[in-house]
Symmetry: none
Subunit: 204 residues, 4 copies
DNA sequence: CATGAATGAGCGTTCATTCAT
DNA sequence: CATGAATGAACGCTCATTCAT
C-alpha cells in the first residue's frame, strides 16, 4: 500500500506514472496502449518508464490495485457509517455510478482490463473485489436484521446482483453522456428495494 | 440462420473453429488471444485457421454472430406468445441465462469484445441488440397495461436493467460452472418483481 | 526442348499451363501472382498445378525459356535470311518492338521477372540471350564487311546498344498505347544508322 | 536536398540503410528482397530496420528518391551552362552513366521498381523524370537551332532514346564492374551523333 | 488425374524491453 | 535519472507445397 503522498521526488513521479497509465489504459485498452503512449502522456521517453514499472503488465497491475483500493475504501466508509440501511444502499449505488461518470479511470481499467493480468495478480485483486462484495453483503445483512429486508433474502445473491447491475449501468453511463445520473441511481435503488410489481405496501 | 449442424466436413470444422475462438476470446480477450491460441485450442496449426476465417477480426465477428443468433429469435417467440407477464419475464431470464451455458461463452464475447469489430459489423449487431431490448420493453409495457406492474414504471429503464443484470450473471455463470442456474433465474425474476424489501402485499 | 506439339493430353495441358503462367506472370509479376491465380486461369484447382510444374519457380523458368526461345528463333531466321544489312537491322528492331505490342507475354516475363530465378537457371537463359546478341553482332559484322558500316565500329557495343534501346522503347510502348509503332521503328533504325547530326552524305 | 553526410549517428545509419536497401532491391527486386535481407546487408537485425524506415515500401521510396535526387539538378546545370551542343550531350551521358556507379544501384531500383510505390509517391518521381526529359529535349532543340543537328529531328524521340539507352547501359554497368565507363560514354555519344553507317561528312 | 484440406515456413510489422552512454 | 538505439520475440497473415482420398 503506497502512502498517498511520499515526499521524495521518485515516489511523486511514480504516482504520476500510475495516473498516466490509468488514463492511457482507460482510453485505449491495455493492448491498444503502448508504453510509448504512457511515457509521452507524462512527458518522458519510452525507455525511462522502466524506472517506475518493472513491465507494462506491472503498470497494469498497479493501476488496477490503485483503482480498486480507492473503491473498496469508499465502500468501507459507507459500511461503517451510521446510517439506516436504505441510505447505505443508495450511497453504494451513488458511489459506484458516479465513479463511472467522474472518469475514475483506474476503476474502469480494473473492470475492463484486469483479465490481461496473470492469474496470480488477478487473485489479489479478486480478494479486494471480494471484500467489497462482503462489505455490501454485510450491509444487506444489517438490512435483514433491522427488518427492512425480508428474512428470506439471499444476501450473497443480493450483493452480487447489485454490483452486476451497477457495472452494467456504468457501461451505459460511459457510452451515453446525456443520461441523467441521479434518476438512474434512484431507479436502481428503487428496483432493488421494491421491484416493479404493482402492490400496496403496509409499512411495519 | 446457419443450420446448427451441417453435414459436410468443412462446416463442421468451421463450427469447431467458432467455438474455439469463442472460448479463447472469452478467456483472454480479443487482443490477449492469439490466432495460435485459437488454432491450438481446436488442434490445428495456426495458418490453417485461415481456411475457416478470413482474418482474426472475421473470427470475432463470427463468434459474436453465433452468440446472439437465435437470441433475438427466442425473444420474439416469447414476446408474441400467449402467456401472462410473469411467465414472459421468467422465460426471458431463463432464455438469457441458459444461453450462456449453451453457447460456449460466445455471448460473453459478444458483450465484451464486439467493440473491436469494424463499424459496419457492429451496426448489424447493435440492431439485433436494440430489437431485443425493444421486445423486452414491450413485454414490460404489457405488464403495466395489465396492471401487473406499477403505472409509474419506466419500461425503458426496466428493460435495460434486466438485460444488464442478466449479462452480469452470465459472466458469473461462465466462470463458475457449479452455480445453480435455476436458482439464479428464480432469484433474479423475484428481485425484479418484488425487490428485496420486507412488505405486505395486498392483492388488488 | 519440348516439341511444340505433343500429341498426348498431358503435354497439351502442360502447354496450356505454361501459357497460363505466362499470362498471369506478365500481368501481376512473379510475386504478385499466386499459384491459385495460374490454376484458375486455366480452369483447374491450385493443387493440380503441381502435375505440370515442380514448383512455382519451375513455372517461371519454363515461361522464360519458352519466351526467349521464340525470340532467338526469330532472330535466327532473320540472321540467316538473304537480305542486305539495312533490312536485317530493321527486321530485328521490328521483331523486337512488335513483340512488345503483340503481347508476347512470355518474352515480357523473361525480361522483367527472370531475376527471380535461381542463379543456375538464369545462367541458362543468359546463354540464350547471349546467342541472340551474338547473332545481332554477326549482322553488324556483315554490315562492316559489306562496307555499309564503318570499319571502326565496335560490333559488340553496337549489338548491346540496339538491344538496350529496343528494350527501353519496349517499356514505353507497353505503357503508351497510342504510340505509333512503325514510326518508332523507323526512327530507331535511322538513329542507329545515321545519328542525329546534320551532314551531307556522299554515297559510295 | 538531404545533405550527403549528416554528422549525427542517426542520419549516418539511415544513409547506410538506404544504400543497403538499394543494393538488395537492385539484386532481388522489391518483392524478392526481404526486410531481413536488407537488415543483414547492413549488419543489424530485421526489426531494427523499422527505426529507419516506416515500412518496406517507405524504404523503396527513399531509395528511389536517393537514386534521382541531384540527377535532375545536375541536368539543370548542364542545360543552363554555356557550352556547345556536343559538350552538353556528352555531359549528359557522362552524368547519367556515372550516377550508376556512384549511387549504389539506387538509380536502377528507381527505374525497375518504382512502379511498386503508391500512386502518390510515384507521381512525385514521375514529375522529376519528366522535367529531366524536358531539359534534355531542350538541349536537342538548341542543337537543331544551332544547325548541329538535322532540322527533321524529333527531339522528343531523341531525348527518350538517349535516356532509354543510358538506362540500358546503366544496368550493364551495375552488373559488370570492370566495364570501361569512359569508353562507353564516348561510344554512346558518337552513336547518337553519327550513327554507325559508313559515310563522308562534308562540313558545312 | 484432380481435389479439398492442411501444413509450415516465411513475411512485414509492432513493441516491450534492455543497456551503453 | 534519462535517453537513443537496438533487440528479439511475438503477431497476423499469405501461400507454395503436400498428400490422403
Amino acid at each position: 500500500m503506497a502512502a498517498p503522498q511520499d515526499n521524495n521526488r521518485y515516489d511523486q513521479q511514480r504516482q504520476r506514472a500510475i495516473r498516466a497509465a490509468a488514463s492511457v489504459f482507460a482510453e485505449k485498452g491495455f493492448y491498444g496502449a503502448s508504453t510509448k503512449d504512457i511515457a509521452e502522456h507524462m512527458g518522458i521517453k519510452q525507455g525511462s518508464l522502466y524506472y517506475y514499472f518493472k513491465s507494462k503488465e506491472d503498470a497494469l497491475g498497479e493501476v488496477c490495485r490503485f483503482g480498486i483500493e480507492d473503491y473498496v475504501e469508499r465502500m468501507k466508509s459507507i459500511a461503517t457509517s451510521d446510517q439506516p440501511f436504505e441510505s447505505k444502499l443508495m450511497a453504494t449505488v451513488t458511489s459506484h455510478l458516479t465513479s463511472y461518470r467522474e472518469k475514475n479511470e483506474a476503476l474502469k481499467v480494473h473492470n475492463d482490463e484486469r483479465l490481461y493480468l496473470p492469474e496470480e495478480k488477478r487473485a489479489t485483486l479478486k480478494e479486494l473485489g471480494s471484500s467489497y462484495r462482503q462489505l455490501l453483503e454485510g450491509i444487506f445483512e444489517e438490512g435483514v436484521a433491522s427488518g427492512a429486508l425480508r428474512d428470506s433474502l439471499d444476501c450473497h445473491f443480493a450483493a452480487q446482483a447489485v454490483i452486476g447491475m451497477c457495472n452494467a449501468w456504468g457501461d451505459i453511463i460511459v457510452r451515453e453522456a446525456e443520461l441523467d445520473l441521479f434518476d438512474t441511481i434512484q431507479k436502481c435503488t428503487d428496483m432493488v428495494l421494491n421491484g416493479f410489481r404493482e402492490r400496496r405496501i403496509v409499512a411495519r
